[in-house]
């Protein structure tokens, strides 16, 4: 059933200088400002890499996506990444149809997103 709110949990990813943020529920025009505040605080705390666990995400509207439109480049400029992981199949299908999968980095699981960060870090260390 559709819910009116979203919940989030934050788990540190110390080896990646970042956090794993699990989003649950629905993100719409009403609560997108709340999502932006959560994300901004995490970035201001110095987290460079953010993995979003979206496995429990019921719904996200353009207002929610707008938050990531704003923050994605900002995080990248600071040498970090915002990675989308474990998006439910029906959501991913529509994202693909709309071309949003070309805009952000998507991973089937959180573990694969973490492996990507590990490989990026080892590449940077070898440079």
């Amino acid at each position: 059933m559709e819910s009116a709110a979203f919940e989030h949990t934050v788990q540190p990813l110390t080896e990646h200088n970042g956090v794993l943020v699990a989003l649950k529920g629905s993100i719409d025009a009403h609560n997108a400002p709340q999502l932006e505040q959560v994300m901004r605080e995490l970035i201001e705390q110095g987290n460079r890499n953010i993995i979003l666990d979206l496995s429990q995400l019921q719904y996200i509207s353009s207002a929610g996506l707008g938050v990531f439109m704003v923050l994605y480049e900002e995080v990248q400029e600071q040498g970090g990444n915002v990675l989308f992981a474990a998006l439910p199949e029906k959501v991913l299908t529509v994202f693909d149809l709309l071309g949003f999968t070309q805009l952000f980095q998507f991973f089937p699981t959180v573990a694969e997103a973490q492996r990507y960060l590990t490989s990026e870090q080892s590449e940077a260390a070898n440079d």
Partner: protein
């Protein structure tokens, strides 16, 4: 044909009510999960746009949403009494540029237009009438039988 209607106030807090109404109505009519998800997204964007741009979050103004379902298609009509805004006239955004420019808004109409098969808009200045946005989408083969 099944026809259901809901009226909401022009504030974003009401969007969850619209989504729950659609979920319930479309599920009862036998639409599959993916179709329901797309319709929820389409109508949420249509209403969000009216709430933000035409009503400026005014709880004293209203939106009327009517869903009509047949075996072949779903039609949703969204009526409002705000300043007319024709979504058919909005140019398609360049998504990459949108992200590079860090634009927060402006994707709702794009989403709505891309996900429906047909859309039409009829504007009428209040109090002579209401603006009417009509959205149509064919049902997928798997869901195309209304339960008796």
């Amino acid at each position: 044909m099944i026809e259901r209607q809901i009226k909401i106030a022009g504030v974003p807090e009401e969007l969850a009510k619209v989504r729950a109404f659609l979920q319930q109505t479309l599920e009862a009519a036998g639409l599959d999960d993916e179709e329901i998800y797309q319709w929820i997204w389409i109508v949420d964007e249509g209403c969000s746009n009216i709430i933000r741009h035409a009503y400026h979050n005014d709880p004293q103004r209203f939106i009327w949403i009517t869903v009509r379902i047949t075996n072949e298609r779903v039609e949703v009509e969204i009526q409002d009494e705000g300043e007319p805004f024709d979504p058919t006239q909005v140019p398609e955004p360049d998504l990459q540029l949108h992200r590079r420019l860090r634009k927060k808004g402006g994707l709702g109409i794009y989403i709505l237009r891309r996900l429906v098969d047909h859309l039409s808009y009829e504007q009428k200045q209040h109090p002579q009438g209401r603006n009417r946005l009509i959205l149509v989408k064919q049902r997928t083969y798997n869901s195309s039988t209304i339960p008796s």
